[in-house]
Amino acid sequence: MTQTPTVNDLAWIVGGAQGSGVDSSATVFARAAAYGGLHVFGNREYYSNIMGEHSYFQVRLSGHPIRSHVDTLNLLATFDAETVFRHARNVTDDGAIIYDPGLAGTKLDDVPTIEARLRADLQTYLVARGLGFTIQDLLKSAEDRGVTLVPVPYTRLLSEVADENHIDQLSKISRMVNMFAVASSFGILGYDYEMMARALRDVFRAKAEVAEMNVRGAKKAYDLVVAKHLAFPYHLEPIDFRGERRVLMTGAQAIGLGKVLGGMRVQTYYPITPASDESEYIEANQIVDSRAPSADPAEEESAVAKEAGSVLVMQTEDEISAVTMAIGAALTGARAATCTSGPGFCLMMEGIGWAGINEVPLVITLYQRAGPSTGMPTRHEQGDLRFALHAGHGDSPRILLASGDFEEAFHDGAKAFNYAERYQTTVIHLVDKAIANSNGTMPTFDPDQVRIDRGEMITDGWSGRDPYKRFAFTESGVSPRAVVGHPGTMFWNTGDEHDEMGHITEDPVLRNLMMEKREKKLELAAREIPEGEKVNFFGDRTAGTVVVSWGSTKGAILDAMDALHAEGIKLGFLQIRLVNPFPVEAVTRALARAKSIVNVEMNFGAHMGGLIRERTGIEPTHQVLKYNGRPMSSTELAAAFRAIAKGNAPRKQVLTYGV
């Protein structure tokens, strides 16, 4: 079978039991590829479990930037039986499966972590092909389709390593099978082993010895596979990218970096998946280097940069404490945030209302995950838009930002504080599990693009004759803000309606003025925020079909559009970034002329679709929704858009791909 080789375009999956090192193997794989100039996008899936349930990482590599995962894979790297059972059917016919031949006899029923529904499904599949229920049977069905089988004798290799390193028990180094799987992958892909060695040394930075043992050990698997001389159609080739400084990171890291750069100095949190990754990353790096304030490093340093800064990261007793502690900190002038997911956000309602009525600059980074209730804690969803928009009883202002990719997430992380301080209000930064746990390569962030705007802030004492009024009525609705502890600007806060000093009032006239004052700030934000920060438009402005979406679906939509473009299907794509105040004009303009409006969301209720109709009167003609906990792939989206373009799509398409 001769095939045209596919260079630098690969979907790879590594899987295994939770706690067995799947993550680090994917990181080594991704980094090694990235060192070679390849663009990387990784999507991580795992159960709400500490050890034993199945987790996997899809890593896509490409010669040009990619932003999403796909439904099929070309190379499946496994070292346990479950991974074979779960993923083998999705390997492309021209793909390959790396596996442990020792597991060939493992039966479906030997794997207790496979759900009854999936078990039945696999049985049906195997029965239809006249096969039994073992790994061997499933691999045979793959081989029949043309899939290359790559047995790697993990145990033998482990023994060799153990012998060479004088290790008495194989179990002590059993995690090395991960690296065998990665090395085998690179072997089959014809990729330079040196890149992997470098990645190993980087990932095991803290333990040089372990790194070296892995470098030597994995090489065995690499060599073994290379020696097979497989005619595998997928190849990886290094690309020269010296012109660009590039990083590989997760979304959670990108947001954390944005927040710290943006001046956040207090972050409170209560552990919750997938939000705590961010806090833990920040805590691990809580000492903040300070630069000379001048751009020219040769210039003398000013006092400002003399001292290192720091972020106080507080693990609290619950999310009520997290949000109220952050508000307390914000009252003193520190840029403060908290970071959570749905269940924790549920406990922040009163805090949000209090911050709203007291005009406190509070930032909440909300990592959406599959609800309702505990739902699927480690799975993806964008199901909290409406809840965040209407969070808390009564009417209080808030700004909602939604980031579509790592870079936006980084910049929004910083920008959220500018909005919060300029408009003295709560900013909810909507991100999600997919963005948090995915990783990818990107040009390194340019800190110089970030500016800090603290709004109207009193920093040099109070010389006014009248006493300072924290909630003074002004044209814009914004009152000059002093902070707790500032000399002479004493003020009061209360969750009750209050007068300009901050004391309780129930006066009906003052009440109206205060309600209107608070809301005016949002009107100001709507006027001031540039359209480019409210929405993005991609693709064809004149296209009859316009896709509209928000948040992390962006990558898959763009990749799908690229794919369809090649087929001659042209689409426009309106990405809504500022969810509140809602960009009525920009959205109306972008959608008014479209014949088909395709609302794409990772939730059941089509939240944004409803909001668009509520605010503009425009009703999307098509819904493309997904709510099974797995992010949308570009494959699925391309199919859905294609159907719409061809005119044979129902009004509502529910995407269901998921492993």
């Binding site: 990083v247 207090v266 000492i287 751009a295 109220t324 009252l331 970030v450 707790v484 502890g485 969750g495």
Partner: protein, 324 residues
């Protein structure tokens, strides 16, 4: 307040109309707070009082310092946020017994674990004042105040015990009609290095007709005392040493405080029950991770230069994520 002028009690009073009921025990606590602040000559701009929700929580509006009247049950985390972001401030948290020991009990317990250097005062009146006299967590089982339709269904908690179990490093109890003593307690609580908890017996004449001023004052016990009132409230005397002088003493001192703290009925002790400055404050603990935390705390850090460019330098972090 750069000037060195001497501050008087009046300097800590606002013009806000006080709408507590006549005879409310809260007046005594308010007064004591103002007197303690004046006595300590604290710069009003450098003090923050943080309260929850309830009659008691209105206190902040009557004191001329920064005043943060927060949410029901939440004064402690708010106050912790204020204090830790700017450890140079004097922070006093306060609120009702319902606020602190009912809805807020999780913060009560976990604040003990932190030992942040601040004072927390509970206005302990046995009822939910502002919602019209329902039983609060300190009201004992079977007690029927005039505001209750039937005897209380829940057992009361002992705030001193709970504070000790939670880890508070200074535990005291005052009485709102013994202002001089209360001023001294408040002052000691503020001066204590660590988390100080002060329970104040506060008669609510409107709803609690059991634990009244007269009852605390023993007006009903004249027969036992030759016609003169025989107060139930008495002060811990010099023989009672609440201070933990060494780590070895902790167990004994806690046990002593627990035993003393259980007295109730005809003898109700007030004073300092426990004081332990051996436990490092949270501020100290942070400093072990962030050496310059106290001198350059979150609220004081410059985050931007005059052009608005961030001061934070991410070079090293980005370097660790770089792939070239």
């Amino acid at each position: 307040m750069a000037s060195k002028q001497v501050l008087k009690v009046a300097d800590f009073q606002t013009e806000v109309h006080n709408d507590w009921c006549p005879g409310c025990g809260d007046f005594g606590i308010l007064r004591s707070i103002q007197m303690a602040l004046a006595e300590m000559q604290l710069d009003p701009s450098n003090v923050a009082i943080v309260s929850g929700i309830g009659c008691s929580a209105k206190t902040v509006h009557y004191v001329k310092t920064y005043g943060v009247h927060t949410l029901h049950g939440r004064p402690l985390p708010f106050a912790t946020g204020v204090k830790l972001a700017n450890p140079g401030l004097e922070v006093v948290a306060c609120g009702g017994d319902g606020d602190g020991l009912g809805i807020g009990a999780a913060h009560f317990v976990n604040s003990g674990r932190r030992n942040v250097d601040m004072l927390y005062i509970i206005f302990d009146n046995g009822v939910y004042g502002l919602t019209k006299g329902q039983a609060s967590p300190t009201l004992r089982l079977g007690v029927k105040t005039k505001s209750l339709p039937a005897p209380n269904m829940n057992e009361g908690v002992n705030p001193l015990w709970l504070a000790l179990a939670a880890g508070a490093t200074w535990v005291g109890r005052g009485y709102s009609y013994d202002i001089k003593h209360l001023v001294s307690l408040i002052r000691q609580g503020i001066e204590h290095k660590g988390y100080a908890f002060l329970d104040v017996l506060q008669p609510c004449p409107t709803y609690n007709n059991i634990n009244t001023k007269e009852w605390f004052g023993g007006e009903d016990r004249k027969e036992e005392n030759e016609g003169r009132p025989l107060p139930r409230v008495y002060k811990l005397d010099a023989e009672y040493d609440p201070v933990v002088h060494s780590w070895e003493e902790i167990d004994a001192k806690i046990a002593q405080a627990m035993t003393k703290g259980r007295e109730w009925g005809d003898k109700i002790p007030i004073g300092v029950f426990y004081k332990n400055e051996l436990v490092p404050t949270y501020e100290k603990r942070i400093s072990s991770r962030v050496p310059n935390y106290v001198s350059n705390p979150p609220a004081k850090q410059a985050i931007a230069d005059t052009e608005g460019r961030p001061v934070a330098d991410l070079t090293k972090l980005l370097q660790s994520l770089a792939v070239n």
